[in-house]
């Protein structure tokens, strides 16, 4: 970055014209100059593609046969409603979401409570260890867990054997694959845990003291003080987990090399979009799936905010 403010040629003319601008106008110009890169990027990489993608979803656009492109009205959207693979992928995504979202929320709160316990030594080291798997490339962590959950050679089922139990076939069962992916997801809770810990630490300690004097136990304190006061943080985490779940891709792709096995149980909506658009090159239809995905995530997020409106407590008043 060069220091242009000094490098500018200060001819009398530019000097006068700069002087003639009001300070607030000059400030505004500088503001636009600095946010300029983002504004340009917004136009080039967000706004224009959004419009293009909307237009594309009403066409039969196909990158390999561009000359045959024509508008087909709502055909892509009509097809969405009858395409069995889209229906399957939505069902798979919702099944997975129903398990992975609650588990992630509870596990990240549980780890936060445990690793923020006042009597626990070496909290920093333990938190670092729980956070660390986020740094592992998703492809690598998926491979590690796939091996760990293997029916014959994996360790988890060996632990089951020690207790005289037979572990399930995690990876190849269309039922157990969701708990398996949820277990893998535990390696991604570090962010939520750290955010929860910060939330826990922002709860005023006087409240706990007052509650103890009133004879409230651990569970009551958690339910009546901790969770209500942390609710904005929990809502934030919930929204992020929700969005991430509907964009789930890398693990599913790595697991079956993009095939969606077993029996389309891991053909999540984002993988289905990828296959339609990039494997079968049906870009117009892919764009329609992308908008469906966006509509679902948007509706669920809005529903969450509506649900949270009365239940989330903001200590600083309305924000």
């Amino acid at each position: 970055m060069t220091d242009t403010s000094q490098a500018l040629p200060v001819t009398p003319r530019t000097r006068r014209s700069r002087w003639m601008l009001r300070p607030s106008t000059r400030e505004a110009i500088w503001g636009y100059v600095f946010i300029g890169p983002w504004l340009l990027g917004l136009a080039l990489f967000t706004a224009a593609p959004i419009i293009a993608s909307l237009v594309m979803s009403f066409t039969n656009f196909d990158l390999l046969h561009v000359d045959q492109t024509r508008f087909i009205g709502l055909d892509n959207y009509v097809r969405l409603t009858t395409d069995p693979l889209v229906a399957t992928s939505l069902i798979s995504t919702f099944k997975f979401a129903l398990i992975v979202i609650p588990v992630t929320m509870f596990a990240s709160l549980g780890f936060a409570l445990l690793l923020n316990h006042p009597h626990l030594p070496a909290k920093g080291a333990l938190r670092t260890l729980v956070y660390m798997p986020i740094m592992i490339p998703l492809v690598a962590s998926t491979l590690v867990w796939t091996g760990f959950l293997n029916t014959e050679t994996g360790w988890l089922n060996k632990v089951f054997e020690v207790f005289g139990l037979t572990g399930p076939d995690w990876i190849n069962s269309e039922v157990w694959i969701y708990p398996a992916l949820t277990l893998m997801g535990l390696w991604a809770i570090g962010n939520f845990m750290i955010i929860n810990i910060a939330g826990l630490q922002s709860v005023p300690t006087e409240l706990y003291e007052a509650a103890r004097i009133d004879g409230a136990g651990w569970w009551t304190q958690l339910r009546k003080i901790t969770i209500p006061l942390m609710s904005p943080v929990l809502l934030y985490n919930l929204v992020i987990v929700l969005i991430a779940t509907f964009q789930y891709f890398t693990q599913a792709y790595t697991l079956t090399n993009g095939k969606g096995d077993p029996n389309n149980a891991t053909l999540f909506i984002n993988l289905e979009l990828f296959r339609e658009a990039f494997v079968f090159s049906r870009m117009g239809y892919g764009a329609a799936i992308a908008w469906l995905l966006f509509a679902i995530v948007l509706l669920l997020t809005l529903a969450l905010f509506a649900f949270a409106r009365k239940r989330v407590y903001y200590a600083g008043g309305d924000r």
Binding site: W30, L186, W187
Partner: protein, 360 residues
Amino acid sequence: MSASTRTSESSFSDRSPVARSYKRYLAKASLVMFAVIIVSALLSPLLYMVTTSFQQPSQIATAGAPIWPATPDVGTFEGNEYPIFTVTIDGATRQLMLIEPGRESSVFVDPSDPNATRIEWQGRWRTLEQSWRFSPLFENYTTVWSQLNFPRLLTNTFGIAALSTLGAVLSSILVAYGFARFRFPGRNVFFFILLGTIILPTQVTLLPQYVIFTWLGWNGTWLPLIVPHFFANAFNVFLLRQYFMTIPRELDESAMIDGAGPFRILRSIIVPQSIPAITAVTLFHFFWAWNDFFVPLLYLGNKPELQPLSIGIQQYNALYASQPTLIQASAVLAMIVPVFIFFIAQRAFMRGVVVTGVDK
């Protein structure tokens, strides 16, 4: 955190009855035990990965083999090698070489016995437990290293991540400075749009971007992975802007009186004051780019010579899925750099998470 540990320690030294302090000690010990067990369980797949990566494929297929890397233990008798088993004779457990396996009785020799006395043992030798010797195998790593062309993958990953981080950090500093320090019409609306783009799924813009990059001839190059990051992203801008807001404006103003222009103020006041936030953004972006999978898959899926690690490892797995020892070695190689750097820079990471998550 250190303060809370100190208070809990001082509570031991107060003159409470021994029984009470003992009870408290026990409670603390069980809490620590619980935390350690839970965290170890969470990380146990890593141990699986490391031990598997040092094993021979034959060990994995053998029932009753230990979980650590090992080979069947053998001893030498009359110039030949024989497997060693754990045999119980007259109530004593001994490690013996199996010389002549038989159906109902077999002949063993003690490897440490200089006279090599033949020991006849009644029973089925197949029920005996084989003895294993610790022997880590490094060959998996050398195999994966050359099959993957690991140095090339590593260079590609580093090159892509470094260039994209450079663009993301430079542009985000500029934009965050614009939002933090200048009043201009529409600032709040623009900032709201900026935050909105965090929630916008990438899928909505993905297909037209792909088409445009393909028409530009960028498909199959690093450009689609790097160029868009030179236009700042919402997450980085938000984190930096929050940090810039905490720097007193008086510093800017006094510099302005000394004749410094906006770029000068950014360079000599804002940036030096914000090193922790800039470090956090740099690290976050670098590792996000390092681990990214989707975009490299789109543009470099069939360009092995330009691929980053994530794609290389995934395609390797698709070919060698039946060989867990190689796959786990490749996983170790894929994660070693980010995990190592994380442990060095973990403080900056954790601080960044809190800044983005809680202040929202």
